[in-house]
Amino acid sequence: MTEARPSILLVEDEPEIRRFLRATLASEGYRVVESPTGRRGSIDAATHKPDLAIVDLGLPDFDGLEVIRRIREWSTMPILVLSARVHERSKIEALDAGADDYVTKPFAVGELLARIRAGLRHGVRSPNGAMLELEDAAVDLEARKATRGGREVHLTPIEFRLLSALARHAGLVVTQRQLLTEVWGPTHATDTHYLRIYMKQLRDKLEKDPIRPRHLLTETGVGYRLAIAD
């Protein structure tokens, strides 16, 4: 890599929000490019080619969704969405349009930084290959072997597929539709009860406390997230 510091494009119209984000991101060692409008953001994304984009959904000129679509026409760069709307629908729309994750305003910066790290990691092959370390459980996704406390745990083929789908986006949210399509196929895209049942099985096998999972997290109404240590 020629440039050591990752660059982040920030498409946000509120100057006060840009101000504290600029300070936070700079203090974490990121280079920041700021765009106050959607139009500028789409252009800046193409000219600066940042490592990650943060896009506010409520922009004055055109919808943040449009910015996401325009970037996705030519780039796979990770995109995080800032959403003031609490409604799950708008989050899902943004994710369907190609965003990788979202943070709901108001947010604490710790949460945003964790998402940024997960976003930057996405697409970069992890050093330990297909190995997932979940506290006392470990899963080798390639060899299809899972152990817990040193003992082998049997996972079914569907359980492996589901876990792999989540692991491909480790740290990022994956929508229900996306998981159902990837694991069961497009004809089952709305069979959400499959997910409830299989996520419970995975938690029972891999989590210390299945009711209070630390890795296989639910984003209620949106999807699931595999949380792994930073």
Partner: protein, 360 residues
């Protein structure tokens, strides 16, 4: 006012005139023509009172035509021998116009008054809301203004620990305020009926886990016990809303019980519903208050423990939308239980996964 379909006034007019004509034909042998005309006048007045000008005029014209054709000599024609009947016609038309105008006026006034009443009620609700919001937002705002101005103006005179403490209190108060604002918005959304449930199969164990994660910090000083059976059936609900309902109950537990209190989150299966309970073993409330606290802006006791008194009202509104019940009861031996139910539906089929092929 009830709205009727557009042609109904004219149908009314035709029906009324047909009735008058039948009455007139029955009267004709024994009564004067003037009295028959009076029957038509009555019919036109009734139609004009209940309808707008159009149907009233239509009734008058129909009345004239029928009266002329059937009763005025020469009968069976629309010709008129005696000029005095032209005056009858003119008067009939005038009556239709005047009465329909009066009727419209009365109706318009009634509508205006009803609108005024609704407006007054809305105004009263708005005033209560504003009073409550301004009270609940003023404290966090005062803390935030004070703490942030201290940091901005004399931050360099404070040591690092003091600066950190001030910043933390700004953070906490702003989160509290943001929480208030979302509750007010949520309540408004629920009350205006603008929420359409997006039902989907959901697991209460998952929803409970999500609530515990969201409130982990606030519940850290309470001892949370879970009693959630492993084989719970799924429910078909709007999961984010049910999560909100449960979160409000858990948040109340954190807010209104002393640290160290045991809070038990329980889900039980009844024949046709799931019963979700949050049991606070450190809270006390008189029997008489158990229902009152579900009303908007009501709090358990005159207290400074924060909260807007919207949490339980929101919880109940969400549960009712789902066809369930929400209530509070005293626990024998001390404590308050908040419970709500969610109806069960037959679970959808899940195709069995073919037995895994043994790995070599």
């Amino acid at each position: 006012m009830k709205r009727r379909f557009p042609g109904s006034g004219y149908a009314w007019a035709a029906a009324a005139m047909a009735a008058c004509t039948l009455a007139g034909l029955a009267m004709r042998p024994r009564f004067d023509l003037v009295n028959v005309a009076m029957v038509y006048v009555l019919g036109v007045v009734v139609v004009a009172l209940r309808n707008t000008r159009g149907p009233a005029i239509a009734a008058a014209v129909l009345a004239l035509a029928a009266f002329d054709f059937l009763f005025v000599p020469p009968q069976g024609t629309f010709t008129v021998d005696d000029v005095q009947y032209l005056l009858t016609f003119a008067i009939l038309l005038a009556i239709a116009l005047v009465v329909s105008h009066l009727g419209e006026d009365v109706r318009r006034r009634a509508q205006a008054q009803a609108a005024l009443r609704v407006e007054a009620e809305t105004e009263r609700i708005r005033a209560t809301l504003l009073a409550s919001i301004s009270h609940d937002l003023r404290t966090p705002l005062a803390v935030m203004t004070g703490a942030s101005s201290t940091l901005a103006e004399r931050g360099e005179k404070l040591d690092a620990a003091e600066r950190a403490a001030l910043a933390k209190s700004i953070f906490e108060q702003s989160r509290e305020m943001s929480d208030h604002v979302s509750k007010v918005l949520e309540m408004t959304r629920l009350e205006t009926g603008s929420i359409v449930l997006e039902r989907d199969w959901a697991s209460l164990a998952e929803i409970a886990g999500s609530v515990l994660r969201r409130l982990a910090e606030r519940l850290a000083a309470r001892r949370v016990m879970l009693e959630i059976p492993a084989d719970l059936p799924l429910v078909r609900v709007d999961a984010p809303l049910v999560e909100q309902a449960l979160a409000n109950l858990m948040e109340n537990a954190a807010r209104h019980t002393p640290p160290g209190t045991v809070v038990r989150l329980r889900v039980q299966r009844a024949p046709e519903e799931l019963v979700v309970s949050v049991e606070n073993f450190g809270a006390e409330l008189p029997e008489a208050d158990l229902e009152r606290i579900f009303a908007k802006f009501e709090r358990g006791v005159a207290e400074s423990s924060g909260g807007m008194g919207l949490g339980l009202a929101i919880c109940r509104a969400i549960v009712r939308l789902h066809g369930g019940r929400a209530w509070a009861e005293r626990i024998a031996g001390g404590g308050i239980a908040f419970r709500f139910t969610l109806p069960l539906e037959p679970a959808p089929a899940m195709p069995p996964e073919p037995a895994a092929v043994e790995r070599p």
